[in-house]
Amino acid sequence: MAVQSNLKNMALVLFTVCFVCSALLAGVYAVTAEPIANTNAAILAASINQVLPEGGELSEAQSAEVEGNTYEYYVSTKDGKPFAYAVKSTTVGFGGPLVLMVGITSDGIIYGTSVLSHAETPGLGAKCTTDEAFIGQWMNFNPIEKKLAVKKDGGDVDAITASTITSRAYTLAVENAVKVYKSIKAEEE
């Protein structure tokens, strides 16, 4: 079946195969790079739209530094004035990083939250993406009137059943986003 091996044909075949494969991949990469970028942009845009009120014009990504951590955020403007902010906030959950997009309107009220990525336990902490009661409470949550902490810690956030650590991480992410919002506000004035 196979050819007798000698140094020349081994090197030649290996080189040719590697060359052809790399060239093929470079081609496929070039073709798919744009769809991949579009898909990622669409996912990001969808998560931002989900947490912000409609009707604004979205800015490019901007960054703010609060307490030594850098946060990415997007400003939505209406009639030339900023009227809502979407802040990307990362904390540590039960299983690993928990990344949220938090939408805050210009009067400091949380409009909505969505999970960008998480590593929580399926069926327990992972409910932070599906549990309607948990997600629903963030709609119009006013961090000035209510305390941003789970009820077990004396706050006003209903934790997911049996997933206190995830709920705490989620709450902390929202709290950090509020801090970012405050620092952006302070800078604007």
């Binding site: 079946m1 196979a2 044909n9 075949v13 195969v17 494969c21 798919t32 990622n40 336990t121 399926p122």
Partner: protein
């Protein structure tokens, strides 16, 4: 062996999961739900068919001593193509299966078929062989995914028919081992009579 047999042997007689015991890592890791199992199976099927065809085409020109590295490069190429395509068009599934898509490269099924079949058979036969083994693998993964989703979440393909939480352990790591173990027992009882 007829063309039909080439295709069907992978499903039962040489089922990669239950008989050949190959590709255990993705089998255990990605079958948390029926959809995930099915997607992983189809991803592997894609690589298996293409790499089988490519390897059967180039095998006569590859010197014996370097055949393994050459096959690995060919397989890795198709896996990377699959990665790009999935990232572009099914990002959700790509994110769920994560690491196990690039790991198709070291799935023993793919290299195993290249070594055992594709390098000494024609392109059409190799494609059928890859298709059969791939379908067998997909079926096993889907069945395991269905069982774990029913036990762990009370649903099938996302359609929930038992309210409440189900036995979460079956969606987590231990459930993967237990379910596969018991399914294998069942398979042995039924198929090996």
């Amino acid at each position: 062996m007829s063309k039909l047999q080439l295709f069907t042997k992978g499903i039962l007689k040489e089922n990669p999961t239950f008989v050949l015991l190959l590709g255990m890592c993705p089998t255990l890791a990605t079958t948390t739900s029926a959809v995930n199992g099915l997607s992983m199976g189809l991803a592997t099927l894609f690589v298996l068919v293409l790499s089988n065809m490519a390897i059967s085409a180039i095998a006569p020109y590859v010197p014996d001593k370097v055949h393994i590295p050459v096959y690995i490069v060919v397989i890795a190429t198709f896996v990377t193509v699959l990665q790009f395509v999935m990232q572009a068009y099914v990002p959700g599934i790509y994110a769920t299966l994560g690491l196990f898509i690039p790991l198709i490269v070291v799935n023993c099924i793919v290299l195993g078929r290249a070594e055992a079949f594709a390098n000494k058979n024609g392109i059409l036969d190799s494609a059928l062989d890859g298709l059969g083994i791939g379908v067998g693998f997909t079926l096993s993964l889907t069945v395991l995914g269905i069982v774990r989703e029913i036990l762990g979440g009370g649903s099938v393909f996302g359609w929930k028919f038992i309210s409440g939480d189900g036995m979460l352990a079956f969606v987590m790591a231990p459930g993967a081992f237990l379910c596969l173990g018991y399914l294998m027992v069942l398979f042995n009882k039924i198929a090996k009579k």
